[in-house]
Symmetry: C2
Subunit: 247 residues, 2 copies
C-alpha cells in the first residue's frame, strides 16, 4: 500500500501519453499516510553530526546585501521561528536521513552526482543560495545570488536558472512542510531581469495541502521589495516515505 | 522609437510591483518593427566563419540514442528543411552577430560568462544538447541528455534542469522565428522523471505570434514517443533589434 504511488510513477513510462500525472496516480490510504511530523522531517533533514560540506554558508563572493540579509535571518533562527537548511552536494546526502521510496532509489552507479543547483563548485561563479524555513507558518525564504555561469541575456541571469532555484526552493519546502516529493507543475511569470552578482529574494508559501498535493506560491524580488523579478506557482505530489525511514 | 521596449524593461525595476510585464511595455511601431527576415536572423546566428567552439557536436558521452537521432537530423539538414544551430559558450558569442538592444548591453565586466545551459564544461557531466530548427514551419527539436551534475531525485534529472533547457530551446526558437527575446512566462506540467544519461527529445512549436508576443508549446518525450516527460508552454516578447545589427 505504502509504495503504490511510487510504483505508479515508475510505471507511467510504459503507458505512452498521459492525460496528467495527477489523474493516473492511485489514492494512498490517507488515514495512515503522511504521519511523520514536521519536527521529525526537519531533524532528519538537518543532520547535526556530519562531515558533509554545507554549501549554504557565506563565502567571499556574497554581495553585501546577501550577507547582511543572511545575518538577519540567522538571528531569527535563535528565537525559534526560522530554521536554516543545510545544503549538501547531492540530494543523496540529504537522503541519508530521508530515504526515498525504493522504486526510485539508484545505488549501483559510481558517478559523481551533484544536485543541479550545486553543479558549479567554484564560489560565486554559479549558484549561491541559502534557504530558511519557517515550520509553523509553512513558508521559506531563499537568498539567491546568480553568478556569471548562470547567464542568459548579457549581464543577467538566465530565466531557466531562476526557474531551477524556484523549483528547488519549492521542493525543499514541500518536503519539509508536508512530504511533497515530486514537482507536478511549475508556472512562472517573469517581470524583470536579475542582474548577475546581485541578490534576489524568493518568498515561498504553502497555500494549501489537498488531495495529496501541495499548492505553493513564490514571489521573487529585490531585497527592498521595489523590484519584482518573477511570480510563480508550483504543485507538488505527496508520497509516503518508506516505513524504516520514519523511525 | 526603436529602443522603447528595452528602455521600458530597464525602467521596470524602479516602479515596484507590476501588474504584468506585458501591460507596462509600450507598443512598438509595428509597421516598421520586426522587419528582418528569418533568413537574415539565421545567417547572423549561425556564424560560418568562427573559431568559437561549438558545444552542440557529438562527444564520447552521448548515448547511442542521442547519437543516432543527431545523425538522422543532420541528414535532414542536407535537404534544406532543418538547420543545426551552433551553441557557443556564451550568448555574447552569438551576439557578435545578433546585437542586443543597447539598454541591456554589458561590456565593461571582465568575468568569464557562460550561458547557463553550458555552465558545466566537462563532457557528459552536465548539459549535453543540440537544437535543430525548421524555419518555414517555425519549430525546433532539442536533443537533451542530462548528466550526473543535473540530478534531482537520485538517478533522475532535476525538474529545474528540464525547465532551463525548455526555456533555452524556446528562447532560441523565439528569436529565430520572430525576434522573440525575453521570456514573459513559462508553464510546465511534469509527467515522468528523466533518467540521467538518457535521451529526452523536446519538440517545440510556435503556436502563434500576436500582439508582440510569441506563444510556444513544447512536448518532451522519449525517442520512441512512448514516455512523455513533460508538456510546457512559453510566451516570449518581441523586441526590435538595433538598426545597425539589421544591416
Amino acid at each position: 500500500m505504502i509504495r503504490r504511488g511510487v510504483q505508479a510513477i515508475a510505471r507511467l513510462g510504459h503507458h505512452g501519453a498521459l492525460p496528467g500525472a495527477s489523474c493516473v496516480l492511485p489514492r494512498l490510504d490517507l488515514a495512515s499516510a503522511f504521519a511523520s511530523s514536521t519536527d521529525n522531517l526537519i531533524s532528519r533533514f538537518c543532520l547535526q553530526k556530519t562531515d558533509l560540506k554545507d554549501y549554504a554558508l557565506p563565502n567571499a563572493s556574497w554581495c553585501p546585501d546577501m550577507l547582511s540579509l543572511y545575518q538577519e535571518f540567522l538571528e531569527k533562527t535563535k528565537s525559534g521561528g526560522w530554521i536554516k537548511l543545510p545544503s549538501f552536494k547531492s540530494n543523496r546526502d540529504h537522503i541519508q536521513g530521508l530515504k526515498l521510496p525504493s522504486g526510485l532509489a539508484v545505488t549501483s552507479d559510481k558517478s559523481d552526482w551533484r544536485i543541479f543547483t550545486r553543479c558549479i563548485p567554484a564560489e560565486g561563479q554559479g549558484y549561491e543560495y541559502v534557504i530558511f524555513f519557517h515550520p509553523s507558518e509553512k513558508k521559506s525564504v531563499c537568498l539567491f545570488q546568480p553568478g556569471p555561469y548562470l547567464e542568459g541575456p548579457p549581464g543577467f541571469a538566465h530565466g531557466g536558472s531562476l526557474a531551477a532555484i524556484m523549483d528547488e526552493t519549492f521542493s525543499k519546502t514541500a518536503y519539509l512542510a508536508g512530504e511533497g516529493l515530486f514537482t507536478l507543475s511549475l508556472s512562472i511569470k517573469f517581470k524583470n531581469l536579475i542582474p548577475l552578482g546581485s541578490l534576489a529574494v524568493l518568498n515561498v508559501e504553502v497555500e494549501k495541502i489537498e488531495d495529496q498535493k501541495l499548492y505553493m506560491s513564490c514571489v521573487t524580488q529585490s531585497r527592498d521589495q521595489q523590484i519584482v523579478y518573477a511570480k510563480s506557482s508550483g504543485v507538488f505530489l505527496q508520497l509516503q516515505l518508506e516505513e524504516e525511514s520514519l523511525q
